[in-house]
Amino acid sequence: MWTFFHKLGSPKWFYDISGKWLPWFAIVSTLLLVAGSVWALAFAPADYQQGNSFRIIYIHVPSAILAQSCFMMMAVAGAIGLIWKMKLADVFVKAAAPVGASFTFLALLTGAVWGKPTWGTWWVWDARLTSMLILLFLYFGIMALQSAIEDASTAAKASAVLALVGMVNIPIIKYSVEWWNTLHQPATFTLTEKPAMPAEMWVPLLVMLIGFYCFFTTVILLRTRNEILVRERRTNWVKKLVTKGGAL
């Protein structure tokens, strides 16, 4: 365990090992997303109240979960980068911010599309929606800070501090539906309780969720590897890699 952690400090080692993982994550995420979306959109039973419009949760819920967990991962990676000065954690924070922002945007967009037929409006100033919007702004802030600071390690440290400070928003999002009696319904999924939905409805959701996580991992690995190459462009192993022509 600890040797793995220590090895993560070496960008070259990570580049090599992630090259081996990458195809697997890509294949698994494609399989899961295709299977999950066909199952969810064509075979899962329609909701007794909302009919077919509920099916958007198969995209909405995974992207909302991932939007928050991506921010938490960035904060944890930021803390690791600040404490143990691990280069890879810095690279992760930089690679993850736009991806997390995209998932947040996707969650807000699918929520709006779902809200129009169900609530009769694209947007309400509900606590859950507003706190998700704040999350999107926090992602934008981190991205802006990253691009404003030229020195890579200073940028990484500064955005790590911002990610840690921004963590206060995560519990607000999580409990917004419980603290405030608002329009948004409570969590669809919890780890501790049996889902209220029948199995035909929640199993595809689980498949989609795992598929989203694999897709996220694939994208992050690609972006991280790219960033590693950019940062290590003056080292021998990158020069060797480029001159050999072995791209992957």
């Binding site: 600040l82 704040i134 702004f137 926090l138 802006a144 800070l145 200073t154 500064a158 501090v161 400070v165």
Partner: protein, 239 residues
């Protein structure tokens, strides 16, 4: 010790934490006093922003009573934001910020002193000015009292959280806009509870719960944000 030898430690004992706090506070207040125009500008801005709403949206008494607290709060927030960029910048430019970091006292104490000074010169005048604007927005006397109370709890939070943004952007040329982008999302909870308190008071509902939440936000930011701002300052000055 007993033979009268002077000890080296006694000669170089650094001033205590409390003395440092007071010294930095005094220095910043003096500096602020010597550039009085900078103090007045955010206040004028505050007044102008508030007066834009009756002109731009509606001068109706019912609308102003409904929106008044929110308008005053948003204007206070923007005025604070305007003054934040200068929190560390002049010290950064003349190099005294580096000297402050090099002193043996804990950095977050000095950051806290600077934030205190910032609040005294920007937050407190805003609170003093707010009843006048409340009257202009046709708020009644009780509501104005609650508005002042929320500003009293809320403006220190604005300075405290804002210091993190100011510290993160101090070394950058594009400081101003970036601070807004980083800090405004973090201001939203305090804005929501601040205006929520006044709304509740205007509707004759109990406000204890809101005040407790504002106090909790204040306590949390008072303890955590000087540390975060100190860390951010060290990062900004590391290269």
């Amino acid at each position: 010790m007993s033979n009268g030898m002077p000890t080296i430690a006694a000669a170089t004992t650094p001033p205590s934490v409390m003395n440092t706090f007071i010294a930095v506070l005094k220095r910043d207040l003096t500096l602020a006093y010597r550039r009085r125009q900078d103090l007045v500008n955010p206040l004028i801005f505050f007044t102008i922003v508030v007066s834009l709403f009756p002109l731009g949206v509606s001068p109706e008494k019912s609308f102003l009573q409904e929106a008044g607290a929110g308008v005053v709060w948003v204007a206070a927030l923007l005025a604070t934001l305007l003054s934040l960029d200068s929190l560390f910048r002049s010290d950064f430019e003349d190099g005294s910020l580096e000297q402050i970091i090099l002193t043996p006292q804990p950095l977050f104490i000095m950051v806290l002193a600077k934030i205190c000074a910032h609040w005294l010169v920007t937050g407190v005048p805003l609170i003093i000015l707010s009843p006048m604007l409340g009257v202009m927005m046709h708020l009644d006397f009780e509501t104005i009292k609650v508005l002042m109370l929320t500003l009293l709890l809320g403006t220190p939070v604005l300075s405290l959280i804002g210091a993190i943004g100011a510290a993160l952007t101090v070394g950058l040329r594009v400081g101003g806009v970036l601070i807004s982008l980083l800090i405004l999302p973090l201001y939203i909870p305090v804005l929501i509870f601040g205006t929520g308190t006044v709304q509740a008071a205007a509707n004759l509902l109990p406000i204890d719960g809101y005040i407790a939440l504002m106090g909790a936000i204040f306590a949390l930011s008072l303890t955590l944000s000087p540390i975060a701002a100190a860390a951010a300052l060290k990062i900004s000055l590391s290269n």
